[in-house]
Symmetry: C2
Subunit: 184 residues, 2 copies
């Protein structure tokens, strides 16, 4: 692999609850060395959940790094490195929104910021939603609402939805359903 | 703002070249306190650049956090916090790929991982490409290639492109051009 960067040494800088920061020295393809600062993350899931009426389940949540509320699809970290991603997606959807789907499909990975973060978000598409009870974590505060998929896509095209995974998952499901000739 | 988390205290853990890690204590909406671990980032740009033949300019690059090569659209950090994002996008496109566009349009923001990272990527759409010379940074190694936009969208739908910003920007431009009735 001509482009490969080989590990010379690795140093754990910070071992937090979510963020695990490393500073590695690497050997570049030309024989020089360079420093790579990056965060290890346990991995996550997100769910584009669509009601039978064609509405997407969305959350409004305060995101501290941006000091503002963002609109996002349901998502969350894996409970453990070996948690089944589909189970995690079902768990997060049920806990955060109270919805339980009858069909859920893996639609690909989403790497958030591959230069500095190894977070891998498994994306799912869920349909056939039934209502159960919301069960938020102690430090989790969010509002659930719905929006027609077509309206969400229009908001994304207008630049009104900044969350990356929400843009990717919504546009992906929209394009897939269009290709299948489904009315949206 | 009912969902707001207020800062109680802030501690800089690591002040790297790219990653600036903070550990803050925050006041939650219910009066409890919680710890927030997050990374500050100077901000970035990415460019979906389309040739007159409908081909997207792509890069194959080794991403150390994933220990593998990824396919991504051209992107890069701002040189300074006040660098004009459009200038940064033109600079990164020219340096990394050697292409210079005659038209470039801002198509919205992409927040990479809003729970733990304040990275804001401004997305651009570039057309009318002319060739200039590639000028890579000392520690930058990448291969440039092209793929028809429709083929890239198919690869994304098949789950073969994992980079988040590449998925979002390609699907966004594809949907926008389709809505305008452009042949893709």
């Amino acid at each position: 692999m001509r482009l490969e960067e080989k590990n010379i040494s690795s140093r754990l800088i910070y071992d937090g609850k979510v963020v695990h920061l490393y500073e590695d020295e690497v050997l570049l393809p030309d024989g020089q060395s360079a420093r790579r600062e990056y965060v290890k993350h346990i991995g996550a899931v997100c769910v584009l959940a669509l009601t039978d009426q064609g509405e997407v389940i969305l959350e409004r949540q305060f995101r501290y790094p941006f000091h503002k509320e963002l609109i996002e699809i349901p998502a969350g970290k894996l409970d453990s490195a070996d948690e089944d991603p589909k189970e995690a997606a079902l768990r997060e959807l049920r806990e955060e929104t109270g919805y339980v789907p009858t069909r859920i499909t893996y639609i690909g990975d989403f790497y958030s910021s591959p230069a500095i973060l190894d977070e891998r978000i498994r994306m799912f598409f869920a349909e056939g939603l039934m209502r159960d009870e919301q069960q938020l974590d102690d430090d989790e505060f969010l509002e659930v609402f719905t929006m027609p998929l077509k309206a969400l896509v229009d908001e994304i095209l207008a630049g009104h939805i900044s969350d990356g995974k929400t843009q990717a998952a919504a546009l992906k499901v929209y394009t897939m359903l269009q290709q299948k000739g489904r009315t949206i």
